[in-house]
């Protein structure tokens, strides 16, 4: 741990806030949809507090509505969230100096947004665990306050549409991707991943393209070239 834990945590929280705002908006939509799918406010909030994984929570709603079993929901969450395994490889290496107990706690805060923020975004050069915790805390607080707000709102509105929200989340990821690209080889990796992912997505659907592109392209890049950070 670095000496000024709380300063670093607060720094991470603060710097993540723009992303947190988008997460909040998404959570409001989730809350509204959840109560409209028949969940209570308490159930909706419990789900966000415990599962804390956007995509699988959204997909769970129609499943719950149609009476899916706990096994079906569990299997779905496993498939949808399998991509975290890849994220764990980077996060574990990045914070390998930290104690396993801390890493167990940190793991709960690994979501698409915190992973992107700390590997490609503003947090990429900081290997402070406290900083990561700050970004994760911000994501957790915004996701859960948003869920609560949405659930309450959903009790008396049918469906609220926020225009452009789906693109706003994409824009956040694209910004982190774009700002991390430095070399020509990074562009090649980006282009190959996009093409490869689209091909696999077209053929297989689901989430397989993440593993196909996320493993094959880095392997090829490491095979044919040197270090990413030291390259010119």
């Amino acid at each position: 741990m670095d000496p000024n834990t709380s300063t670093r945590t607060w720094q991470g929280f603060r710097e993540f806030l723009p992303v947190g705002l988008v997460i909040f908006s998404y959570a409001v939509v989730f809350g509204i949809l959840a109560v409209n799918s028949g969940l209570g406010i308490l159930e909706t909030c419990t789900m966000s507090l415990t599962v804390f994984a956007g995509a699988s929570q959204f997909i769970a709603l129609p499943m719950i509505q149609s009476g899916a079993s706990i096994w079906a929901l569990t299997a779905m969450a496993l498939v949808v969230n399998m991509r975290h395994l890849l994220y764990g490889l980077n996060i574990g290496q990045k914070y390998s100096k930290s104690r396993p107990a801390w890493l167990l706690g940190l793991s709960f805060g690994i979501v698409d947004e915190t992973y992107a923020f700390n590997t490609l975004g503003p947090g990429r050069n900081l290997d402070s665990l406290s900083y990561f915790m700050g970004t994760a805390l911000c994501a957790y607080v915004t996701w859960n306050t948003g869920t609560f707000a949405g659930a309450v709102l959903g009790k008396w509105t049918e469906a609220l549409r926020i225009e452009g929200l789906d693109f706003a989340m994409l824009a956040v990821f694209l910004s982190m991707i774009g700002s991390s690209v430095r070399t020509r080889r990074d562009w090649v990796v980006l282009a190959l991943s996009a093409v490869f992912a689209l091909g696999i997505y077209h053929l297989a659907g689901g989430y397989w393209h993440l593993f196909a592109a996320g493993l094959a392209v880095p392997l090829a890049a490491a095979r044919f070239n040197g270090n990413r950070t030291n390259a010119s």
Binding site: T46, T50, V51, I64, A77, L86, G88, A171, A194, R228
Partner: protein, 102 residues
Amino acid sequence: MIAFAGMTLVTYLTRSLFTVFISGVRIVPFWSRTLEFVPLAVLTALVAPFLLVPDAPYVTILNPYPIAGIVTLLLAHRSRNLLVSAVTGTALFLVLIRIFPT
């Protein structure tokens, strides 16, 4: 409520398994080089289908999603400012969806 227990458990397992496991493993340079490319590759793969296979009912392939998406990417590359590129990109998207035929 109990139905969420399974989702919570497997989701946490996907997050923690390699995170804790790999932190204690010393990996050879080839694999650490490979891992360095994973964030760029996997996050590009995550967004690509949303941009280029939009389920929005646009008649042309050139629609607001890929156009505003590529502008956002290039803007972020030049400015290296997350807030500027994300806000500008989304604003452009909101303008484009009013122009393009659906």
